[in-house]
């Protein structure tokens, strides 16, 4: 949109919209109250940023690497017997009992070794990369901002309006989130307390086409939006409810998630909530000198784990579980070896957490392999590209088609099945177009291929990149409908493979990445 149109439209919007919006909004809040829909339209994603670079190796602990971890980081290592077991290979930091409970109930999952190629260890550059989902280009938009821009082109011109009454994203606290930076404006509205009502005086300034004029317009838009969105948020918070007794008022994240539950249950139609915890840049005093079980990092992880457990409990009690999913992220992990200050320096990949009831996997990706010798500056190598996690979330959770998702990223996207187990009816439609989905992908020991058949003969083979057949998976008749066939790939060497599904109704090829 040209700036001239933008200016003109803003002038129209400012004429009387805020008042109109307030009237409409109050009706819509009443109407949607507790009206839980399973469609992607009404879904909410909660993103928790662990600011500073979380030490993944002391968060999700590779139990099968413990002996070598004690070589690399003896001064901060959690005692082996204190690690909370999830599987025989994987454990959690002992302060994360909340996430452990959720994991055991299928409501939390872990994606291992998430990062990006050629890790940049600058906090700022790396946070820009994580916020934008772009590595090569100079980012000016966030990954959620691009998704929202494609849904609501031209924003903020013409918003809010009688259809879209609510802010599209909420950033808890006082600042907006760069994850939600769109082309023209940031989609997130900062909320520190949704129960505060306010109404700011309007202003009649116009944009004179200079940098100054742009600021004038920005400030004026903020005034209008603050009034309109503020009223919506307040109405939702007042109409909403919260039922869990697990929230801890002294835990800031817990309080903020409680507000989020309150707003969602009150019918606020925001699609994304961004929350932030500071303090993960643990160069020193990550653990107490007296005990590695306590210290700054333990408190941070406990705060996260307890808050998320309370939030999930609340969603369950409110009957909202199938509408809300969550994820964490941090700009990088930390180096494998600790330093002498009881801390760790900037590193590479790290695990991230997903939470909610619509998860597909429990743990995606193998444990990192820890060496028995200390190599200066070594981090955990990346195996799963964070951009593919974002892409898969957009696809699984918001139902964005694979081609649309691909268009939002600069790399060739690999889709994982992360949170589509509630998508009854959504996937078949896409599968019927002669497609197949492999998950997890990349895979380590086994994977599942999901496809549809029409009461027909089906033959499935695995080819390597030179198109040599390396395995036959299935050869037989299948009934009409969706099928999941297991692929045992533990014996394959690492690399790219083509899975070929030969059906009477057509040929389907899809790519599988085998990792070690």
């Amino acid at each position: 949109m040209k700036r001239r149109d933008f200016v003109r439209n803003m002038a129209l919007v400012s004429a009387g919209t805020p008042i109109l919006v307030n009237n409409v909004s109050l009706q819509s809040v009443g109407k949607t109250l507790f009206d839980v829909s399973k469609s992607a339209e009404d879904r909410v994603l909660v993103i928790i940023r662990l600011n500073g670079g979380n030490d993944g190796l002391n968060t999700v602990i590779p139990r099968d690497q413990y002996a070598n971890l004690s070589i690399q980081r003896s001064n901060i290592l959690i005692p082996e017997t204190s690690v909370l077991p999830l599987t025989t290979e994987v454990g959690l930091h002992p302060s994360m009992t909340g996430i452990q409970n959720m994991f055991n109930n299928g409501k939390a999952s872990i994606i291992q070794n998430v990062g990006y190629p050629e890790q940049n260890r600058s906090h700022f550059r790396s946070m820009d990369i994580w916020s934008s989902g772009l590595i090569d280009s100079n980012p000016t938009t966030g990954w959620m901002g691009r998704k929202l821009d494609s849904d609501y082109p031209g924003y903020p011109t013409g918003y809010p309006n009688s259809t879209d009454t609510d802010p599209f994203a909420i950033s808890m606290g006082y600042g907006v989130s760069s994850t939600c930076q769109g082309i023209m404006a940031n989609f997130s509205h900062a909320v520190s307390n949704p129960f505060d009502v306010f109404n700011l005086t309007g202003s009649g300034v116009v944009n004179d086409g200079t940098y100054y004029g742009d600021h004038m317009e920005y400030l004026k838009t903020l005034i209008d939006q603050a009034n309109a969105f503020g009223a919506q948020i307040n109405a939702a918070a007042t109409a909403g409810n919260t039922m869990s007794t697990l929230y801890d008022p002294l835990n800031e994240l817990s309080t903020q998630l409680q507000y989020v539950a309150q707003m969602i249950s009150g019918g606020l139609k925001s699609k994304v909530y961004i929350l932030n915890i500071n303090g993960f840049d643990t160069h020193d005093a990550q653990v107490d000198s007296a005990s590695t079980l306590t210290g700054g990092h333990a408190e941070l992880l406990k705060g996260l784990s307890d808050a998320v457990e309370a939030f999930q409990d609340d969603l369950s009690l409110l009957g909202l579980e199938e509408r809300v999913m969550g994820m964490t992220f941090s700009e990088f992990g930390r180096q494998v070896a600790s330093n002498a200050s009881l801390g760790t320096d900037h590193g590479d990949a790290a695990p991230l957490f997903l939470f909610g009831t619509c998860l597909n996997t429990n743990i995606l990706g193998p444990n990192p392999v820890i060496s028995d010798t200390i190599v200066n500056q070594i981090g955990v190598p990346m195996q799963i590209d964070f951009r593919d996690v974002y892409a898969s979330v957009l696809h699984d959770w918001f139902g964005v088609s694979t081609s649309e998702v691909q268009a939002m990223f600069e790399h060739s996207v690999t889709f994982y099945s992360l949170m589509n187990s509630c998508n009854v009816g959504i996937e078949e439609e896409e599968l019927s177009k002669n497609k197949a989905i492999i998950y997890p992908n990349p895979a380590f020991d086994n994977a599942t291929i999901r496809f549809t058949a029409l009461n027909e003969w089906v033959k499935i083979d695995v080819y390597d990149i030179q198109h040599r057949k390396v395995a036959s998976i299935y050869d037989g008749k299948l009934t009409q409908g969706r099928h999941d066939v297991k692929l045992e790939i533990i014996d394959l060497s690492a690399g790219e493979y083509i899975i070929q599904i030969q059906k009477e109704s057509g040929l389907v090829h899809t790519k599988l990445l085998k990792v070690k």
Partner: protein
Amino acid sequence: MPQDEVAQPISYSMAPYSGAWTKAEAGHLLRRTMFGPTNQQILTAETDGMATTVNNLLQVPVIGEPIAHDSQEIIAGFGTSWVNSVYPSDPLLVNSVAEARNKSLAAWIIGRLNTESVSIAEKMTLFWQNHFAAPFTGDPRATYDYHALIYNNSLGNFKQLVKDVTINPCMLLFLNGATNTLFSPNENYARELLELFTIGKGPQIGSGDYTYYKEEDIAAGAKILTGYIVDGLASDTLTNVTASFNATLHDSSTKILSSHFGGVSIPDNGANEYSDYIDIIFQQNEVANHICRKLYRYFVNFDLTTSVESDIIPVMAATMISNNYEVIPVIAELLSSEHFYDLSLRGTLIKGPLDMLLSVFNSTESVPGFDILTDGIMYSTLYSYGDVLGQSYASPPSVAGWPAYYQEPAYSQLWINATHLRLRFQLTDFVTLYTGIPGNGNNWKLNILTFLDNLSSPADAIAVIDDLVDVFVPKGMDAVQKLILKTILTNGQPDFEWTIEYGAYTADPGNSNVSDPVRSRVEAVLARLFQMPEFHTL
């Protein structure tokens, strides 16, 4: 904001500005270099002309030390400096004394801003605070020491300042230099020294290669910087926090820098090795480019267009290099340049919280003026307002400083979102219309009558509004907005009614029956002005 849709400057010349020198140019210069000039200061600058005013701005006034005002300070005497005072032996009392000293430090910083003279020193000190971004430490004596360093060298030599900051106890504590040893190098400071403080991070062009330096330079830098330790923290016997060099903790191996530094070797030079290393970094001209871009963004505009990159930054950097990294010649050239006064570059910055809050008080000539305790409480309260609005002076949110100074694409727009805007309006209302800043049973309100009396023609309603616009906003105001303000001033009466009201007050200034109505009208005008978008830009 796509730059091709915004009116661009007419002049990219760094030659001295020779155009009209009016109140508008004088106001532009002082608003960009101070925390809120008064009407009189702007008029004086107009009379003095550009060259004299720029010269005046480039002086660094001598400042005092923070003084004890809080009752939890039980070592230093009330009203005396605590910067060389020990802590109590009782560990339970150390925290409360440190808290008292932090309050005093906050009051000292804000008090300085509130009483600044016509000098760029405070604006430059905030620039360095944003650049080096060391926050409060556990011992306020070290925090003070760091603040005194960046203030006293605010217009000094950039290279020397980097050296001094590198071994300043506050910085050694902040970025783990104090625990960076031969036995376990800690890369925290070594990374930021390159990425943020000197050469800046370029695009990543290879594995661990950031155009101007590589990961291996960070590893080498960490080794070079090993051996400095900090002593005296919260000590009950040592009167200062000091840094010292401990040779046994220093990595004495020869360090080799990457190809970006010509693969140069840095042999062991003990306590001075850090200085050798910084000298080598400063041989790269990119250091000057990096700091000049930051200065440009801070004083002129966020948008480093291709023309700015080709015509402005190289001139600034060349001036800096030819003056061996002295700051004054660069600032003098910039503030005297045609480019700086280009009309399209006025109002290009949104005021940060400190700019916004201090301009309310400073431009209205408002200081608390009670006693040491009361002023101390009020100043530390004003400090906390800055914190609430997103700018706690001594606690930048990260080592990169405040995002509004560096984060693309929004830059200074990041100072304000809908939540912050509302807080700004509430706070300005509070200090203008309601009780003012409370403290020790008193209230610090705006000094409305003195401010009014010092305007050009206070009896003339139109002139009053014109002066307010000249003082507080960067590019004037349209007739409608001015009329709104004048209508508030006259309470909807004809203009001559204001003249009569003001005359009644000057005839009997001690009579609150005539002064109160005049004051309350101006308060109402200012409260409205402070809610206009124009006021929130520089």
